[in-house]
């Protein structure tokens, strides 16, 4: 089984062919945005990080930016640095370049300010774009694909329709040799005891459980009580009885494959199959982490409705219920609510969503792409100095 994609030097295949302008730091983000406008279709990924970060945060920012630059969907990268920041432009360019992606660097302090950096950056960007050329898709086997799954704005139907449906897609993808990333560690707090049997080995299962406990401990340090009122009164009114039920409803989108690897935030998987990445439940940060881990397509279920996209990967938005699919029709790619209405079955919906997934991988635009949604944010755990 194949999709029409872009084989990359590191063995993965992309679903998009993007020229990206990557600022190292908040201070170079505006210049990066100005440079990107010089090349039609180029995308700047502005962000708020990259300096004065302590604890793990500087390394997390670096790893995330490097992962985004090395994404299978990214054809070429221009790194835009300021000069004095913590995340150094040359180091970031080297990390991106190690994946085989063509990369160039421009520095604001080196060039002498905004306008000079924009002019120099635009020239470099045009050269990069010319080097990689237009998008020409080729048949790529599915074992070169990395998918991600996400749920956001969940409702009572998330665990009944859309998440089990995405789980069926995850199973098909893993059976075809692809890698599927599931994340949102906070969603498993309270149900971590269910994870050990899910690992390919007991060690991996235990690693997954410890990842969730570590997350809970660090949230508790800030006084957040994540199980005392979970399920919430609203959840209980909606029918969720226990934290296990709620978490399993979320985990349903991972399907039934064993967990082959447990990854830190923004790390590229070393294994194929289903992998668990440590991310917040926050949708923007979770998607950014999985995209940095090489996810080239994201399946995103929503019950309340969220328009989120991603700068470097198509986000397929799947409604859990038909009223949402109708009310926010312009943001929804697939209505899993039809399963609840009885107008389709889980099997038929899985066939249709699989076809849509392959079509999006092969170039069909998602609603979020058509509307220009490119939300981006990097996980952080410590204060900024």
């Amino acid at each position: 089984m194949h999709f029409q994609g872009f084989p990359r030097a590191d063995g993965a295949a992309g679903t998009r062919h993007l020229v990206v302008v990557l600022p190292t730091v908040a201070c170079s983000s505006h210049v990066a945005t100005r440079i990107a406008s010089a090349v039609p279709g180029a995308i700047a990924i502005a962000h708020q990080h990259g300096c004065a970060q302590i604890g793990d945060d500087a390394a997390t920012t670096f790893r995330t930016l490097a992962g985004i630059g090395a994404s299978p969907n990214v054809a070429a990268v221009l790194v835009v640095g300021l000069g004095c920041e913590q995340v150094q432009a040359d180091a970031l360019a080297d990390a991106v370049g190690a994946s085989g992606t063509p990369v160039a660097v421009v520095g604001i302090q080196h060039e002498g300010g905004t306008s000079s950096a924009v002019a120099r950056g635009a020239a470099l960007l045009r050269e990069l774009a010319a080097t990689v050329g237009p998008a020409t898709r080729q048949p790529c086997p599915l074992d070169q694909l990395i998918l991600a799954t996400e749920c956001g704005g969940s409702d009572a139907f998330s665990g009944l329709t859309a998440n089990p449906l995405v789980g069926r897609i995850a199973d098909r993808a893993v059976d075809a040799g692809a890698t599927v990333i599931v994340s949102e560690t906070t969603e498993f707090i309270g149900a971590e005891h269910l994870l050990p049997p899910r690992g390919v080995t007991p060690e991996i299962g235990e690693q997954a459980r410890q990842m969730v406990l570590d997350c809970e401990r660090s949230c508790c340090r800030y006084g957040a009580d994540l199980t005392g009122s979970n399920p919430s009164p609203g959840n209980i009114e909606g029918g969720l009885t226990t934290i296990e039920e709620k978490s399993l409803g979320c985990l349903a989108k991972a399907g039934s494959s064993p967990i082959a690897e447990v990854l830190p935030y923004a790390q590229r998987p070393a294994r194929r199959g289903l992998v668990l990445m440590d991310t917040p439940g926050n949708d923007v940060e979770s998607i950014a982490g999985m995209a940095a881990g090489g996810a080239s397509l994201i399946l995103f279920t929503t019950g309340r409705g969220t328009p989120l996209g991603c700068p470097v990967a198509p986000v397929v938005k799947i409604a859990t219920n038909t009223p949402l699919a109708e009310r926010m029709a312009e943001n929804i790619d697939f209505n899993a609510g039809a399963i609840a209405d009885g107008s389709t079955t889980l099997d038929k919906a899985a066939d249709a969503l699989w076809r849509l997934t392959l079509a999006v991988a092969s170039g069909r635009l998602t609603a979020a792409e058509r509307l220009g949604h490119r939300e981006f944010g990097i996980r952080r755990t410590a204060p900024t100095l």
Binding site: D171, I236, G238, T242
Partner: protein
């Protein structure tokens, strides 16, 4: 995991589940066909809420998604509402203890 066919009234996520989840407001007395069994409802079941498709003795797991989601704290007969009044989480404590 191969979920059973759904009706427009309730869904069973896995053949090994002993509960179904209502997709619409269901009334006491309705007979709901699931792949597991045809069950007469003992209670009104709001959308998103569960009812038993098999008897669940006290102390036995309530199974959904082919996994235990809690244990029955009272005898549960087929067609009974399954929720916080008769199903307890197995996760110890509230934010404190860990097995």
């Amino acid at each position: 995991m191969a979920p059973t066919p759904t009706s427009r009234r309730a869904i069973v996520l896995d053949p090994s589940d002993n509960v179904a989840t209502a997709l619409a407001p269901l009334a006491a007395g309705e007979r709901i066909a699931t792949a597991a069994a045809t069950v007469a409802l003992a209670h009104d079941i709001p959308p998103g809420h569960k009812f038993a498709v098999r008897a669940i003795p006290p102390g036995q797991p309530v199974v959904k998604y082919a996994q235990p989601i809690g244990r029955a704290t009272q005898p549960i007969a087929p067609g009974h509402h399954v929720h916080v009044h008769n199903c307890a989480s197995q996760r110890a404590g509230s934010g404190g203890e860990h097995p």
